[in-house]
Structure formats: structure tokens, C-alpha cells
């Protein structure tokens, strides 16, 4: 019953609200399920590529549709994200295609001091960060074959370049099985935690502490992001909603196996006998985790 003088609401708008609420709840459901699925598949030794690609595409679509519908209830979406996902997802950064974001994507899961204050501005960012986390999920794909400018992997990329050339050469004619072997290792690390390597290349805690201040900044997005990348490489491709120490532990699981193919995978770390290196890595890893916990608490 509409009172005199009161503006009538357009019926279609009403319906849209209702359906968009349902749509939003479905979107969130799909998002959370997809994220869970992706994480669980990452824990598997060798996840199915088709499945992972389909889940990643669904995640991407879900996040894109969310950003396309700003009338959606942000309260709902905020409560869903328990911790801010990415510090690179700043309000000044425009929505860019995922491929562009991939280079500046990071999963630095370090919460900022004034996260609650900035939550308002972060609300739009949550989807950028989502895109960022999705692209960083895909970043873990075959990182050694990347030609991207990510410093921590540079040595690795140089090593894998001959393989890349070999692959190209193979296309024209005969394929050597040997090359395939080399590529085999790098090629199917679509979902392996290659970022474990990153951990050990940059365990320089002094730099980390210095950059804690940088993390508090909200402006100067791209510059800060490059700096961050140098010192805080993508630690894992685990989603936004996962707390940091957890994702580190995930990385630790594959430490022994990673070191077992160290000769071609890393030029900087000396080849160690597997049990020794595993212990070493785990020890360093725990130190880092401890450090991160401190940072989180602060």
C-alpha cells in the first residue's frame, strides 16, 4: 500500500533485488566451494588439469560477475572474507584483465594494522584481490617455464629457457624424448608448489621487517607491489581465506621431494642430499613461519 506522496518503487527493481540476493548467495556458495576444491586438489600429488582449469575458470567467472554487480550487498561479501586477501588490491588500481594482473599478483597474506578501518575501501578491492589470487593460483602453473619478470625465479627461468627452445624446435619435426623429460618436470608443475623455492631464495628477515612498513601504505600501488615482489615472492597459491601459516605448512609438505630434483631446478642452492636438505628447509621454514606469526600478531 503506497501512501500519498510517496514515491513508487519500480517493480522490476524489486524483483532484481530479490533475485540478486539469491544470485549473490549462490555466487558465494560457488565461490567458497570452488576455493575449497582448488585447495584440496592442490594437496593431491597430481591433480587433474582439466578439473583444475574448470574450477579456476569458474572462480574467475564468479569474481568477475561479482564486480560487475556493485549493487550487491557488500556486508554479505565482507563477512565472507575473514582476512584481507591481498595488499596489492588497492582502490587506486583499476580492474584489469587477469593476464595483466598476473605479474603483480601476490598472495601476501599479511594483515595490515588498520585493516578494519580500511575495510570500506577494501570492499571493492576484495574482488580485485580475488582476481589476483586466482591469477596467482594459475601462476603456480609451470612457473619455471614462465618468461615473467619475477625476480625470485629468474635463475630458474634461465635454466628452463633451453627447454623452452627445445620445445619450439620439437614442433617442426622430430620430438626428442629427452627434452620432454626435462619439460616434464617443469611442465606439469601446473599446481605444484614451486613457490617453495621462492621461500628459500629470499629468506632475508631484515628486508622483511623493513618492508612491513611498506605494507601499511595504501597508495603508490604498482611501485610498492614490485618492491614487495622482490622481497616477498608469492608464497603459495592458496586462497584469500586461508591464514598464512597454514599455507606455509602446505608448502613444507613437498620440501623433501622438491629438493630431490634440485640439480636442474635451482642454480643458487647447492645440491644437498635429500634428508639433510629436507631438515634444513623445514628448519628454515619454521623460522619463517615463526616470523610471520609475529608479524600477524603485530
Amino acid at each position: 500500500m503506497i501512501m500519498k506522496g510517496q514515491k513508487r518503487k519500480l517493480p522490476p527493481e524489486d524483483m532484481e533485488d530479490r533475485s540478486s540476493h539469491f544470485w549473490e548467495s549462490q555466487r558465494q556458495f560457488v565461490f567458497s566451494v570452488s576455493l575449497n576444491k582448488y585447495q584440496r586438489s592442490q594437496e593431491l600429488p597430481e591433480p587433474s588439469l582439466r578439473r583444475s582449469v574448470l574450477i579456476a575458470n569458474t572462480l574467475r567467472q564468479v569474481s568477475l560477475e561479482a564486480s560487475r554487480a556493485p549493487s550487491v550487498d557488500w556486508e554479505v561479501s565482507q563477512s565472507h572474507y575473514s582476512s584481507p586477501s591481498s595488499l596489492l588490491a588497492l582502490s587506486s588500481v583499476p580492474l584489469v584483465p587477469l593476464s595483466n594482473m598476473s605479474n603483480c599478483a601476490t598472495n601476501v597474506h599479511l594483515p595490515v594494522k588498520d585493516e578494519d578501518e580500511d575495510w570500506g575501501s577494501m570492499s571493492m578491492d576484495s574482488d580485485f584481490s580475488l582476481s589476483a589470487s586466482i591469477s596467482s593460483i594459475l601462476t603456480a602453473l609451470d612457473s619455471t617455464m614462465d618468461a615473467g619478470p619475477r625476480t625470485p625465479l629468474r635463475s630458474l627461468e634461465n635454466l628452463s629457457a633451453p627447454f623452452e627452445g627445445g620445445v619450439a624446435g620439437m614442433r617442426r619435426g622430430v620430438g626428442e624424448c629427452g627434452d620432454q623429460q626435462g619439460e616434464c618436470r617443469a611442465g606439469s608443475s601446473y599446481l605444484t608448489d614451486l613457490t617453495v623455492e621462492d621461500l628459500f631464495q629470499d629468506i632475508d628477515t631484515s628486508l622483511l621487517e623493513k618492508d612491513m612498513c611498506v605494507l601499511g601504505l595504501r597508495g603508490g600501488a604498482s611501485v610498492a607491489s614490485d618492491e614487495l615482489l622482490r622481497y616477498l615472492p608469492p608464497l603459495s597459491s592458496v586462497s584469500a581465506s586461508q591464514p598464512f601459516p597454514f599455507s606455509l605448512n602446505q608448502n613444507f609438505k613437498c620440501l623433501p621431494s622438491f629438493s630431490s630434483f634440485s640439480p636442474s631446478s635451482s642454480s643458487s642452492s647447492p645440491p644437498l642430499s635429500p634428508p639433510f636438505s629436507a631438515q634444513n628447509h623445514v628448519k628454515e621454514g619454521f623460522e619463517l613461519e615463526h616470523l610471520m606469526e609475529i608479524l600477524v600478531e603485530s
Partner: protein, 450 residues
């Protein structure tokens, strides 16, 4: 089809492991394939074994009793392997079996797991030489002094023995999981397809292969599509088709370029905007593609439908058949329990007039392209007795009108899925793999294709 009495299938049940009540994971059948004459039927399982069934010749005493399939040979095709570089175990599950056309007395088949393809020779031995001079009957060396006369060894009949031996091993060519193999009509080459690449092999050469399709992006972050199935054209040895996870089919001509990344034809149905959902892409992912025997049509299966395409029309399929549309409203839960990722196969009958595909609850569906009639049948021990006629089943949507014996959507068993089916090349005999059981159904009254 279906309710007509002149084409009612009868059941000729051969349980794969009839005495077992439990399902051993290793016994789950992962592929089924008739050979080119239909005389042999090969199945591969998760444990890396291949079992070949042979059809008994029709007995003259019972002219209406068609030959039944009995076990001909069993062998271990693939063993679990360990990839030392990646610290990963390579599953021994047989993903696909393809028979080679028979050229001599022996039969050849290709079987593949995730990484390695093997060529097996299946031959019979029913004679053995007897009457050696230097060896006695048990094979022991005779004392030369006891040999007083020479004899020529003769071939004597013996009990039939089926020998299986690996003739070729095609290894180390796939970084990703092999999902398809297809023998070319030139009978000299075949292709193997994994998630991102397709390789062309010569059957006699194992240490090298040609890469003919590579959809791996330079930056793996840009990966959004994978290859799901591939097949050679049945007659034109230069043409092949491959399907993708985005629901597209690409027909490629190997004469155009060494690397067939650029397709000759792209078959894609434009998306219906009204039916769009979060799962549109997942359910459009093509799980199987098969050329018709004529070579004129393509049959594809995605999650909810089976489509027949005309090679001459790229814009949309010729026919679309709803396999289990009642699942459309349940996609959310099917996504959650992973069923949405199930890869169902599809099959043509010998005359390309009927298509068949599997579904859940041990149901499988057949669609007659001419009469537009379809039938749902069940492959289960409880509902089928040997020689009994299969009863058509019906799934009613929740809340719909329910007849007796109807199954409601909510009571479907999603763990019982018919992923692998095969149709005899000439006759109306079908093989259905239901988890660890193999069912073979024959159309008793109309054994010849029509």
C-alpha cells in the same frame, strides 16, 4: 526402439566378476572397446589389466541363440610407475584401448595409461612341435648316445593357448595425462592426445613422435582450455577432430601445416544467454567425441546432452539429445560432490542411426535419430536376469507425475555411473561397463543392423 517389440534388447549377462559382492578399486572398468569385426571385446581396468572377450561362434543346434562372449585372454598391460623427477606415482589405470584392423592371424591393440602407450599382440597357438631329436618330451636334453635314429619334428595340435606379448612401448612423449588414442585409417600411424598436446606416432617407431597440436600457452597463467578427446576421421587419414573443455570441436587437416594449432573448422554452439549459470562452462565441456561410421557426422557428449554435428555445419549441432536434463536444477550439488566432472562416453551403432550414452544410477540411454524415440535402460544385476528383456526405466522430476517403477531424481545413485559403453560395429550388441561389472546386451530378434 524402446517400447517396440521388434527391437527390444534382451539381456545376455556376463558379469565381469560375478562372485564378488564388493567392489575392488582395481577392478573398476575404465574402458571398453569392440574390435573391427566385433568378434573381440576388450576391457581395461583401474588395475592396469586388460581382459579380452571373444564371441563364441553361433552354434548350429540353436540358430536363434547368438554367440556369447567368453573370456579369451587376460593380461597385465600397465604397472604402476614412479616418476622420480616429480616424485609422483603414475597410475596404471587403462584410459583407452583401441584395436588395430586385423591384417593377419594375430590381433593387435593399443592400450594406454596416463603416460605410456603400448602395442600388444594377441595371437593363438594351437599347435606345437613334437619329436625333437635332442630333447625329450619334457624338454630335458637327451643323452646323445641314446639317439639311434633321426626324426623330423611335426606340428601336433594342442590346447588352444592365447599368447599376449608387448610389441611396442611408446613412452616419454606426454607431459600431461593421455586421454585419447586413435588409430589412423592409413593403418600406419596413430595419435595420442593429452590435456594440452596431441602427438602423431608411427606404429613401428617408438622413440619419436610428431607433435601436431599444442595448445599450451606461453604463460601457464593464461591457460583456460584443455583438450578432452581426439579422434581420426574414419576414412580421410589427414583429418582429425579434437574437443575442448570449453565445448568446442576443432577439425584439423594435417596437410595444411605440420603443426595443426590452426583449425580447419571450428564447431561451436553459441551459448544460450537465458540458460547461463555459473556452471555453464563446466557442463559444456565435451567429454567424448566420436565420428560416425560414415564419417559425415560427429557425436559429442557434454555433461547434460549428446549432440550430433554435421561436418559441413559449424555453427550449431544438427541434433541435441537431452540425456538427463532433470539434473540441470541440481548442478550446484553436483558441483559440490564432483559429479559434474564425470566424463561420459558415447557411441554410434553400426548404421549411425542410433546413439548411446551412459548416465547415473546405472542407467544408459539410447536415442534413435530417425524416429526421435529414446529409451532409458538399467544395467544392474537386480533388474536383469539372463535372457530377460530389459525393462525401460523412467526418471521423473521431483514433484512430477509419478508412475509405478519410476525413479525420482532425488533417489538416483550418483555413485553408479555408466561412463563407458561400446556398440558392436555391425550388430545390435552393446557392452556396458558399470563400475566393476561388464554387461553385454544383445538384440535377439533383430541381430542385424537396420
Amino acid at each position: 526402439m524402446g517400447e517396440d517389440t521388434d527391437a527390444t534388447p534382451t539381456l545376455n549377462h556376463r558379469g565381469f566378476l560375478p562372485d564378488h559382492n564388493y567392489v575392488t578399486e582395481a577392478d573398476i572398468i575404465s574402458t571398453v572397446e569392440f574390435n573391427h569385426t566385433g568378434e573381440l571385446l576388450a576391457t581395461g581396468d583401474k588395475g592396469g589389466r586388460v581382459v579380452i572377450f571373444q564371441r563364441e561362434p553361433e552354434s548350429k543346434t540353436e540358430p536363434f541363440s547368438q554367440g556369447e562372449y567368453n573370456v579369451y585372454s587376460t593380461f597385465q598391460s600397465h604397472e604402476p610407475e614412479f616418476d622420480y623427477l616429480k616424485s609422483l606415482e603414475i597410475e596404471e589405470k587403462i584410459n583407452k584401448i583401441r584395436w588395430l584392423p586385423q591384417q593377419n592371424a594375430a590381433h593387435f591393440l593399443l592400450s594406454t595409461n596416463d603416460k605410456t602407450i603400448k602395442l600388444w599382440k594377441v595371437s593363438e597357438r594351437d599347435k606345437r612341435p613334437e619329436g625333437y631329436n635332442l630333447k625329450d618330451e619334457e624338454g630335458r636334453i637327451k643323452d646323445v648316445s641314446t639317439v639311434t635314429s633321426l626324426q623330423v619334428p611335426v606340428l601336433m595340435p594342442m590346447d588352444l593357448m592365447v599368447e599376449v606379448s608387448p610389441r611396442r612401448v611408446f613412452a616419454n612423449a606426454h607431459t600431461y595425462h593421455v586421454n585419447s588414442i586413435s588409430v589412423n585409417s592409413d593403418y600406419e600411424t596413430y595419435m595420442s592426445a593429452d590435456d594440452l598436446r596431441i602427438n602423431l606416432w608411427h606404429l613401428d617407431i617408438t622413440d619419436r613422435s610428431f607433435n601436431i597440436v599444442d595448445i599450451k600457452p606461453a604463460n601457464m597463467e593464461d591457460l583456460t582450455e584443455v583438450i578432452t578427446a581426439a579422434e581420426f576421421h574414419p576414412h580421410h587419414c589427414n583429418l582429425f577432430v579434437y574437443s575442448s573443455s570449453k565445448g568446442t570441436l576443432r577439425l584439423c587437416d594435417m596437410r595444411e601445416a605440420a603443426l595443426c594449432d590452426k583449425h580447419s573448422k571450428l564447431f561451436e554452439e553459441p551459448e544460450d544467454p537465458s540458460a547461463r549459470s555459473f556452471f555453464s562452462e563446466i557442463i559444456s565441456s565435451v567429454s567424448d567425441v566420436k565420428f560416425s561410421h560414415s564419417g559425415r557426422y560427429l557425436l559429442t557428449r557434454d555433461y547434460l546432452t549428446a549432440k550430433v554435428w554435421d561436418l559441413n555445419m559449424e555453427s550449431k549441432p544438427l541434433e541435441t539429445y537431452q540425456v538427463h536434463d532433470y539434473l540441470r536444477s541440481k548442478l550446484c550439488s553436483l558441483y559440490e560432490n564432483d559429479c559434474i566432472f564425470d566424463k561420459f562416453e558415447c557411441a554410434w551403432n553400426g548404421s549411425d542411426s542410433v546413439i548411446m550414452t551412459g548416465a547415473y544410477n546405472n542407467f544408459f540411454r539410447m536415442f534413435d535419430r530417425n524416429t526421435k524415440r529414446d529409451v532409458t535402460l538399467e544395467a544392474s544385476r537386480e533388474s536383469s536376469k539372463p535372457r530377460a528383456v530389459l525393462k525401460p526405466r523412467r526418471v521423473c522430476a521431483a514433484g512430477g507425475k509419478r508412475r509405478k517403477d519410476d525413479i525420482s531424481v532425488d533417489s538416483l545413485d550418483f555413485t553408479k555411473k555408466i561412463l563407458h559403453t561400446a556398440w558392436h560395429p555391425n550388430e545390435n550388441i552393446i557392452a556396458i561397463a558399470a563400475t566393476n561389472n561388464l554387461y553385454i546386451f544383445q538384440d535377439k530378434l533383430n541381430s542385424e543392423m537396420h
